[in-house]
């Protein structure tokens, strides 16, 4: 019985290690890539823009579970994106508190997208936009996004937001074109510059 159990365990460990080893070669050469969500913003300004667009869709009753999930992510990311800029801590705290409040409300009831929640998100958006605008133009820069090492041929880090439902753009430069973003806001393009081109 004891030997049987030992053999069974070694077999299971073998299964686990074989399962792992299938990925070993890839990991061994670090030939992996860092996944980023399609709706991942490139900067705090971009995050506000994406939030605004999704809020508009909800206000027009053109919502969907995916859109709500993306908006939830954007709300959660707001403090992180804001903290990764040179905004004052005093401006960051309300953003954090507002994000936590909305996040807690979504955790409590993920399906209730009523006017109160939309207003709270709009307020978070406003706080973030106000904080973003306190930065000088040369401080409104894109965050570093990890890039795929399958893509060593082109070194530009694609700070873009291009969903698969998107148009047939082949040029992935720093534009913003996901399915909710047909109306370009003031934050688009000229409002922020990629970190790669940043001069310090």
């Amino acid at each position: 019985m004891r030997h049987l159990l030992l053999v069974a365990y070694i077999a299971c460990l073998g299964w686990a290690s074989v399962g792992c080893s299938q990925q070993a070669n890839q990991t061994a050469t670090h030939d992996h890539h860092h996944e980023t969500a399609p709706h991942m913003p490139s900067s705090l300004g971009d995050l506000c823009h994406k939030m605004r667009n999704r809020l508009k869709m909800i206000n027009k009753r053109q919502t969907s579970p995916q859109l709500e999930a993306e908006l939830t992510d954007l709300v959660s990311w707001a403090p992180e994106f804001a903290a990764d800029t040179d905004i004052e801590e005093s401006l960051w705290i309300p953003i954090y508190e507002s994000s936590e409040q909305v996040r807690a409300s979504i955790e409590k009831d993920a399906n209730l997208w009523d006017q109160s929640r939309v207003e709270n998100i709009a307020q978070l958006c406003q706080l973030s936009e106000d904080a973003w605008m306190t930065l000088d133009a040369d401080e409104r820069i894109d965050r570093y996004q990890p890039h795929s090492h399958h893509d060593h041929d082109h070194h530009d880090h694609d700070h873009t937001d291009h969903d698969h439902t998107d148009h047939d753009h082949t040029d992935h430069d720093h534009t913003d074109h996901d399915h909710t973003d047909h109306e370009h806001s003031e934050h688009d393009d000229g409002d922020h510059q990629p970190r790669d081109q940043m001069k310090r």
Binding site: Y9, S17, C20, S21, A24, D73, V75, S76, H152
Partner: protein, 545 residues
């Protein structure tokens, strides 16, 4: 085939050596606690410490376990003493599982996780688990009346039969007692404790021999349904110190790996090892320990799958891989790494000051222990000759007092020593997590080394310093929390961003063909983030201005 076998054995030996280095400090603490239990508490006293036969025994055992700075190897000598004192098996199980999971140092480390409440939930879940497993084992698993208590190396075994329920005389006092503790610790290390500890570290070697280099990097993904199940098989032979397990938890949450797998790693990886299982099987029988381990694995896995989705941190994009588990896989990537220099370099990375002191003490103790065993000398030689029949019955061994010497009850001395250990743990917390200024000073040097190495293309040097920068940033966070009682959300967020970018830089320099532009960009990013992080601690925002 030969090449594969050679890599497996060589890698296994290196990992075993690393585990030995990691285990030495807490094994020393375990031996000290076991010696205190043996020479300052009688059997009834030891049973009282662990709650006796009352309902308190399980929570009391895990509470004591959480106070002691021991790992799953450090608990082995204490378990031997608990067994000798006939502590209930359920209480032993609760102690054995909880002591390595959390200690003050590792719990404080949890403060640096992005959502510290997760650690509190893990702690609560673990304590619920050890209580249930202990109760089930007491109730169904062990027929303790049929199991003989081994009397090996007992200084009092000649009168054990007559003292099952009552206190046995602790015959040795004063300097002799200290000497007896030293002899006992040496003999235990050169005997059963050493043997079971070796079995425990061999588990890590076995795992490294079986798992190729980096093979666990993508095995614990958040969306991988099999991740917790896979972790069960990996974590049983794993030996992890509480700090290692906690830092791996941190990395798992940073990379948004499977929270269920993280829970299993904590409970099974840090809580048990092959030595614990082997010793329990010898003491309580294979059937009984089979029930214990199956019960443990079933409950742990159930909890893991239950928390796997709810505990996914919101807004964190899962990383496709992690280096958190590289320490359990073979360290050898290419066959030309199988040189003695490579092995020594790997071991040197783990050979810090604490390990140097601990290994010196442990090696000396082991040599003394071997000599004592070979010459047949044990602590019984230090028991004074029995008094004549005219001695007072209240003082059966009749030690005489000299001058200001007073005989203090052994339980009082033992309790004082245990409290001293707890106090030492608190002092260690402050020493391990230094003040803000001290951390800044340390990080200044580390940062200079890491960034200049990354910029100049000396990536091996950068790979050495980046994890240390990460570690010191966490130590500073805990140090500030210890001294001021709080870490602001902004400080926590800046720490998160700093470590996120350090992690990205580490990944960049680890590529076979590192991208110099990306590394340069990250270095600039890191400098900016570091400036914000430092400022968050130096000039925290105050609403009063």
């Amino acid at each position: 085939m030969n090449e594969f076998f050679f890599k497996a054995v060589f890698g296994g030996v290196i990992r075993t050596g690393e585990a030995v280095l990691a285990a030495t400090p807490t094994l020393l603490v375990g031996l000290l606690v076991a010696a205190i239990l043996r020479f300052y508490f009688d059997k009834a006293g030891v049973r009282r410490i662990f709650g006796g036969s009352t309902v308190r025994s399980l929570p009391q055992s895990w509470a004591i376990g959480m106070l002691l700075p021991v790992c799953s190897i450090g608990v082995l000598p204490i378990l031997l003493e608990m067994r000798r004192a006939k502590v209930k098996p359920g209480a032993m199980s609760a102690f054995a599982l909880s002591a390595p999971l959390f200690n003050p140092l590792s719990l404080l480390y949890g403060v640096t996780l992005s959502r510290p409440y997760v650690i509190l939930m893990f702690a609560a879940g673990s304590l619920f688990l050890v209580t249930v497993v202990g109760w089930v084992w007491d109730r169904f698993g062990v027929d303790d009346t049929c199991v003989d208590v081994p009397s090996e190396a007992s200084p009092h075994h000649h009168n054990e039969n007559s003292s099952h329920q009552h206190s046995e005389p602790t015959a040795i006092i004063g300097i002799r007692r200290l000497l007896a503790m030293f002899i006992y610790a040496g003999r235990q290390l050169a005997g059963p404790v050493g043997a079971w500890s070796l079995l425990a570290v061999c588990g890590v070697g076995f795992l490294a021999a079986v798992l190729p280099w980096g093979s666990l990097g993508e095995a614990m993904g958040r969306d991988d349904w099999w991740a917790p199940a896979r972790m069960v098989f990996v974590s049983v032979p794993v030996y992890a110190t509480p700090m290692l397990a906690m830092s791996q938890l941190g990395m798992m949450f940073q990379h948004a790996n499977s929270p269920g797998a993280a829970f299993i790693l904590l409970v099974l990886g840090a809580g048990i090892n092959l030595g614990t299982i082997g010793w329990m099987a010898k003491q309580f029988g294979s059937r009984s320990v089979f029930i214990w381990i199956v019960c443990l694995i079933v409950i742990v896995t159930s909890i893991a799958y239950a928390v796997n989705r709810p505990l996914i941190p919101p807004g964190v994009t899962p990383s496709s891989h992690t280096h958190a588990f590289d320490v359990y896989t073979n360290p050898i990537h290419q066959l030309n790494s199988t040189s003695s220099k490579f092995a020594l370099d790997k071991l040197a990375e783990k050979f810090g000051l604490v390990e140097q002191i601990a290994i010196t003490m442990l090696a000396s103790l082991a040599v003394v222990g071997f000599v004592l065993r070979l010459t047949g000398i044990d602590e019984k030689k230090l028991v004074p000759a029995p008094q004549t029949k005219t001695s007072s019955s209240a003082n059966p061994v009749g030690p005489t007092t000299h001058g200001m010497d007073r005989i203090v009850g052994p339980n009082v001395v033992g309790f004082t020593l245990i409290m001293g250990l707890v106090a030492l743990s608190i002092v260690m917390c402050y020493a391990f997590y230094p003040s803000r200024e001290e951390c800044f000073e340390e990080i200044r040097f580390i940062r200079a080394d890491a960034l200049s190495a990354a910029n100049s293309g000396d990536y091996e040097h950068a790979k050495f310093w980046i994890p240390r920068w990460d570690e010191w940033s966490r130590r500073m966070e805990v140090g500030v929390y210890l001294r001021s009682g709080r870490v602001t959300p902004y400080q926590r967020m800046q720490g998160f961003l700093l470590r996120q970018k350090l992690d990205l830089l580490e990944h960049e320099v680890e590529h076979e063909r590192p991208d110099g532009d990306a590394i340069h960009t990250l270095v600039v990013e890191l400098m900016a983030t570091n400036a914000r992080w430092s400022s968050a601690y130096r000039k925290p925002f105050s609403p009063d201005g």
